[in-house]
């Protein structure tokens, strides 16, 4: 059995049975994505790497708590990474360093190997698609996404920061996700 051929959820079943090789496969599959997310949120390479390690440690440690009916592994994985990164931010542990400079950030980018060129192209297309979908959101809806997802603010904190009623935040969040869903399905921008 080649573990690399298994789906995320199948690998999680193996991890629940304490198969460390399955964790290694998932790490290779998602570590760069988690690193990119953490770096975006923290702007500090060392702390972002801490997020990567702790995220996958929790995947290993909490594998039995993963419930595929509640969402995909990918969603669960990124939520773990986000929560950890947000927690670090709230504890003011992270101070942006020179890695925030564009030059160094470029040096950090994952260089695709020859055999991964196709995969890298697909990922790039996916990146552009998500970026475009986000760019097409109305600013107030995009703001809710940014403040919640990347800065870890709660709905009430977002309401305070934006001086907007909580109910309006609910609406903006729901509309933002609905529009993103439609655009990512290829239905084009709607306002």
């Amino acid at each position: 059995m080649n573990l690399t051929d298994l789906t995320d959820e199948q690998l999680m079943a193996h991890i629940s049975n304490r198969n460390h090789e399955a964790l290694s496969v998932l790490y290779d599959r998602y570590a760069s994505s988690i690193m990119g997310l953490a770096l975006r949120m923290l702007r500090n390479r060392q702390t972002a790497e801490e997020v990567v390690q702790e995220t996958f440690w929790r995947v290993w440690e909490q594998a039995s708590s993963f419930d595929g009916r509640r969402g995909t592994f990918k969603s669960w994985l990124f939520s773990i990474a986000r929560r950890y990164a947000i927690d670090l931010t709230r504890r003011a542990k992270v101070r942006p360093d020179s890695a925030s400079s564009q030059a160094e950030a470029e040096m950090m980018l994952k260089a695709p190997s020859d055999e991964n060129v196709v995969e890298a192209v697909i990922i790039t297309i996916e990146q552009e698609r998500v970026k475009e979908a986000l760019a097409n959101l109305p600013p107030d809806q995009l703001e809710v996404i940014q403040l919640s997802y990347y800065q870890g603010l709660t709905r009430r904190e977002i309401a305070d920061v934006t001086d907007t009623p909580v109910g309006t935040i609910h609406t903006r969040a729901r509309l933002a996700l609905q529009k993103l869903a439609a655009q990512l399905r290829g239905e084009g921008p709607r306002t």
Binding site: S32, I123, Y149, G167, H170
Partner: protein, 286 residues
């Protein structure tokens, strides 16, 4: 209330709720499983948000450190966990976000390592105790063997010493026997022990003498004593025992008078006497 909870589903997917609100949503989802579908649709969108970020390769040491932690965890006996939603909630919603960043993943590892260390230490101590006991037993046995061997050595040394004494006596006797001016004075039975006989070999140059006797009685409660008789007066010399066959040899260590007219051997109490007290069994004249 129900309408309010469903409004929270997008924010649940975005991670923009408080711990209390997460709990409320999860309780609602347990009671309204049909809402899972809506939430799943939201989470599918949210999970694509990180895709806008560029892929960045972490340092290879990150994976090495992770897998080392995993290996350490694998080496730790796993306690069975209750699979209740409460525990999952505590672990995923309360413990992880609130605990210190380093503390959260470190506590179970440290506990695991502590248990492992305690378990391994206990095992090592037991092994060491067993080894020490075995070694103490071995040392005790070896000490007994050494003591036994030491006793044998002592006995052999005693034997060697005795043999050396005998050898020296034989050498001393030989030197007297072979002396150029050696004189032999036969001694004969006085009748007390009829078959008893013997001789005194005397070297006037060195003043040394050797007495050889046969057919005396072996009595452990008495000794024989040699006397040199000068001017009718017996001068005490050494005492001696004989073997079971009645033979014996005395290397005379006391001063031998320059002149004497006779020698006698009497039966005396152990330690000898100043004057003859027992029977004279052998007598010889010069």
């Amino acid at each position: 209330m129900t309408d309010h909870i469903t409004e929270l589903l997008p924010l649940y997917a975005l991670g923009a709720l408080t711990d209390e609100e997460y709990g409320q949503v999860e309780t609602y989802l347990e009671e309204h499983p049909e809402a899972e579908h809506t939430l799943f649709a939201y989470t599918q969108i949210v999970e694509q948000l990180p895709m806008e970020n560029k892929l960045v390769e972490p340092n290879p040491d990150v994976k090495k450190a992770l897998m080392a932690r995993v290996q350490a965890d694998l080496a730790t006996p796993q306690p069975k966990e209750p699979s209740t939603s409460f525990w999952q909630h505590i672990r995923t919603r309360l413990l992880a976000p609130k605990a210190p960043a380093i503390f959260v993943p470190t506590v179970p590892v440290l506990l695991g390592l502590l248990l492992l260390l305690l378990w391994r230490n206990g095992s090592v101590v037991r092994q060491l105790n067993g080894t020490i006991t075995e070694q103490e037993t071995t040392i005790g046995e070896q000490q007994a063997i050494i003591a036994e061997q030491q006793e044998t050595i002592n006995q052999q040394q005693t034997t060697i010493a005795n043999q050396m004494d005998e050898f020296e006596q034989q050498m001393a006797a030989l030197s007297v026997y072979t002396a150029v001016n050696a004189q032999i004075i036969p001694v004969a039975s006085t009748g007390v022990l009829e078959d008893a006989t013997g001789k005194l070999t005397f070297d006037p140059d060195s003043g040394r003498a050797v007495l050889d006797v046969v057919a005396l009685a072996d009595d452990p409660e008495t000794v024989y004593q040699l006397w040199f008789i000068t001017d009718g007066t017996p001068l005490p010399s050494n005492t001696f025992d004989v073997a079971e066959d009645g033979s014996g040899r005395l290397i005379v260590s006391t001063a031998v008078p320059p002149t004497f007219e006779a020698i006698g051997i009497s039966i005396e109490p152990p330690g000898g006497s100043e004057q003859p007290t027992g029977d004279i069994v052998l007598l010889g004249e010069t």
